[in-house]
Amino acid sequence: MATTDSNLPPDRTPTYGVLSRSLMQGLLSFQNYSILSIRAMASIFTPPHYIGDLLEQMDIIGVGSLPVILITGFFIGAVMVLQTATQFARFGQTALTGDAVSIALVRELGPTITGLLVAGRNASGMASELGSMLVTEQVDAMRAMGTDPVRKLVTPRVLATILMLPLLVAMSDLIGLVGGFFVSFLTLHLNSVEFWTRAINSLDFSDLMQGMTKPLFFGFILSTVGCYKGLSVTGGTQGVGRATTQAVVISSVFIIATDVVLTKLMLFFSGHAL
């Protein structure tokens, strides 16, 4: 079959068409995501409020994620000590292990790892739950009965994640330090006073602010992405699976990218910027 593609003007080539459609699709998705996020946040301030749904989501996201956060937090603290201690041992400064573990956990690893774990557990859960509701017409049924699905389904999930993630990060930081101390005690023979004194004294207020501010943003990102992917499912049950995967991938990438920006901003405002 003869093709006339080479005769098309540059702005009408197939490649241009594909790129143009992809860009338009991307922009449209971002617009719809933004509208959903704004509506979800705006619904916090106007009635009706679904307090029961909020508490249920806080239980699912907060209490439900606690075991995995505690277990991984413990091992991350432990492995941090193992890695840093070998470097500090070269200079005979193993006592600084507590400082390094504490700062790394509170500033960076606690919020980021917790954000990624909750994204893997809950952004996927939100996408699959809302996606299933969408393909079985439960979301339409809700709208048909006069209920705003954003207010009923999205807002409680977003608010619950924003409220619970800092608490999970605090637990992760604490148990990470416990894991670090456990390994320090066994391998470096640091006593508890030495480890905990250095670990606590090495932190200042800006470190805590950094560690507790990041999860607010991470919680917003993972919950809104999870809900958006769930409520934009197409293609039946196969689409639900696709949306679940995309929710985890997109929210994880967004969390890490946002972490870079937030870290730079917070170091700047705390006077530690390079």
Binding site: Q138, D140, A141, R143, A144, M145, T147, D148
Partner: protein, 281 residues
């Protein structure tokens, strides 16, 4: 068996003088192409209008447009004289509280029990718990599902899910009920049970209804039978009764996104049109 549901009188302002639902040259398309291509019809108050058509002719879309769940690309959909495309989402939520919608697969909330599904809208309206419990019992008795209060939707058969869905649609005494293929995929006995419920609802409540179906036997059942509250049985209409009690029933056949044929059951039977004959086989 309690067949007499309490009819909640609506304020006089809710009663439209013209048609309850009006489609005016409605077009709607998706990426795959245009589905509705100039759909126009009206549904009068207390009328049960039957939309018949093959899969993909736009029956479900018509119901979703009529309830404001979708907006047309062009044309107008009027509900009680109000153009739905001019209403805000919040205004649509208010308007939909007057509508009961029975979805094709029931669309029951998986995480809620049967009782909570039926009570959903009443809880949303902030009604008193005692009143809610009484109403839930009443409508579940109407659909003969009063023993399933605490069961979860996943434990119910297809027919039971449809019956609970009908109960949920009735719970807040809506003015208008939309049925989306309520007998699709059900065995003949269960289908008959569902149609019996629809007849009872029409003849005891007088609701305005839009029934989408691809089964002509359902449409003829709606046209030829009525529910007799005294005997609690389905009995055939006489011709006089049909005209006197529920007005003339008209079938609306959809084909390629627009009205293909509109007429009485007898006109359908008398028509030599091959598309209509396909439904009679």
């Amino acid at each position: 068996m309690n067949s007499a549901l309490q009819i909640v009188e609506k304020p006089a302002t809710d009663a439209p003088s013209g048609p309850v639902i009006s489609f005016e040259d409605v077009h709607l398309g998706f990426a795959e192409g245009e589905v509705l291509r100039g759909l126009s019809f009206q549904v009068a108050q207390h009328e049960t209008r039957v939309l018949i058509g093959e899969s993909g002719t736009g029956k479900t879309l018509a119901l979703k447009l009529a309830s404001g769940l979708l907006q047309p690309d062009s044309g107008r959909v009027l509900f009680s004289g109000r153009d739905l495309s001019r209403l805000t989402e919040d205004e649509l939520f208010d308007l939909r509280r007057r509508i009961g919608f029975v979805f094709q697969e029931g669309a029951l909330f998986d995480s809620l029990s049967v009782a909570d599904n039926v009570a959903y809208r009443l809880h949303e309206e902030g009604q008193d718990e005692e009143k809610i419990e009484a109403r839930v019992n009443e409508v579940l008795t109407f659909v003969e599902m009063s023993d399933a209060l605490d069961r979860m939707p996943s434990d119910l058969s297809g027919g039971m899910r449809r019956r609970v869905s009908i109960a949920r649609a009735l719970a807040s005494s809506p003015d208008v009920v939309f049925y989306d293929s309520p007998t699709a995929g059900l065995d003949p006995v269960t289908s008959q049970t569902i149609i019996t419920l629809l007849l009872r609802l029409r003849d005891t409540q007088g609701v305005t209804a839009l029934l989408a179906t691809h089964r002509l036997q359902d449409a003829f059942a709606m046209a030829n039978y009525r529910f007799d509250p005294k005997s609690s049985r389905i009995v055939p209409f006489t011709k006089d009764e049909t005209a006197r009690d529920i007005g003339e029933i008209k079938f609306l056949f959809l084909c390629e996104g627009k009205v293909y044929f509109e007429g009485t059951p007898q006109a359908v039977l008398d028509s030599p049109d091959p598309y209509l004959k396909k439904f009679l086989v």
